[in-house]
């Protein structure tokens, strides 16, 4: 007997992601799925964003790590709400793991930053219910990464080039990196920052603020979770 199935393999993940998105949309939180290699500076970039936006906005950070809670402990020093998810054997967050955080969300947030597991391959494939993906590419990794990991750079609405303070020591060429990003994603919004020195964050923060306001909409009213 032959049965035509015609269903995506990740159909259950897609359904769960849709439910997560519905929850985040109800509270009008801007939800960003932050993806980058281990050591690219995801947590440091998040720290800078939190420091700069916390006085004006309610922020939650969801930390996805295979094991441990080092990153959420680091962030709690900034007195920002955090939720830790351990993926154990998995190299990425999926919609079900992200859903584990939802019952812990007790108030509406303006901005939810989800730090995915450090990896350029797997997290790109899984919709977790975010508004969009942000890819972080650090200069020591090389300007060729968008060529090697095309899917992530294609899907990310925003690409952050981090560790620009190291440029003079490296062969990384910003122009080349931008060209490689644009080939995969001509509409990508690219920011150049150094999470260490704080350089370049003014533009990124300005962008995020306008995105938060857009999500909140004109009525500026939000439902409780």
């Amino acid at each position: 007997m032959k049965i035509n199935v015609l269903k995506p393999v990740l159909v259950s993940n897609q359904q769960r992601a849709k439910e997560n998105r519905k929850f985040f949309d109800k509270t009008k939180s801007l939800v960003l799925n932050i993806i980058g290699s281990p050591g690219s500076g995801k947590t440091s970039v998040i720290e800078q964003i939190v420091k700069k936006l916390k006085p004006r906005y309610k922020i939650l950070v969801i930390e996805g790590d295979i094991k441990g809670s080092i990153d959420s402990e680091r962030l709690s020093k900034l007195k920002v709400d955090t939720i830790q998810i351990n993926t154990l054997t998995e190299c990425h967050l999926d919609a079900f793991m992200t859903a584990q955080a939802i019952p812990q969300i007790k108030k509406p947030y303006d901005l939810i930053l989800i730090e995915n597991v450090g990896n350029l391959v797997c997290p790109a494939e899984f919709d977790i219910g975010e508004d969009y993906k942000i890819a972080i590419l650090s200069t020591p990794e090389g300007d060729d990464k968008p060529i090697k990991y095309p899917l992530l750079f294609h899907l990310a609405k925003v690409v952050i080039i981090n560790k620009t303070d190291l440029l003079s020591y490296l062969d990384f060429k910003i122009k080349k990196a931008r060209k490689n990003i644009m080939d995969k994603n001509p509409k990508a919004i690219v920011f150049e920052v150094s999470a260490k020195t704080g350089q370049g964050f003014k533009e990124l923060i300005g962008f995020l603020e306008s995105e938060i306001k857009e999500k909140l909409g004109r009525d500026r009213k939000r439902a409780n979770p």
Binding site: K7, E90, D183
Partner: protein
């Protein structure tokens, strides 16, 4: 490495479909895989061999068929397969493109008794 969890989803989906249609043993799973995904058939087969044990998929084999990346330009209507994922219209340089295919990852059919 993420093939472990996708193969688990694959086995679950096939088992569900088989159960729904009264198939106790699946012989063949036809899988469509777009070229612009990060999934490797070899890795899927590797995990499948042990995830299928004691399920309706136990005697099944997976037949992969690859779907090329095709784009259509909104500006000049150029439409073709592209070999490399570079999303700029080769004819007019426009960046407003529709990706017609290449991101698929779905079970086309299952066969069995």
């Amino acid at each position: 490495m993420h093939e472990y969890s996708v193969t688990k989803s694959l086995v679950e989906l096939c088992n569900q479909e088989a159960e729904k249609h009264g198939i106790s043993s699946i012989r063949l799973i036809k899988l469509k895989l777009g070229k612009f995904t990060g999934f490797s058939p070899a890795a899927i087969n590797f995990y499948f061999d042990y995830l299928k044990v004691s399920t309706r998929c136990e005697s099944a084999r997976i037949e992969f068929s690859e779907i090329p990346i095709r784009i259509r330009c909104y500006n000049c209507q150029y439409e073709d397969e592209i070999l490399e994922p570079i999303f700029i219209c080769p004819q007019c340089g426009n960046i407003e493109l529709e990706i017609i295919s290449g991101r698929e990852f779905y079970v086309e059919s299952i066969e069995g008794e």
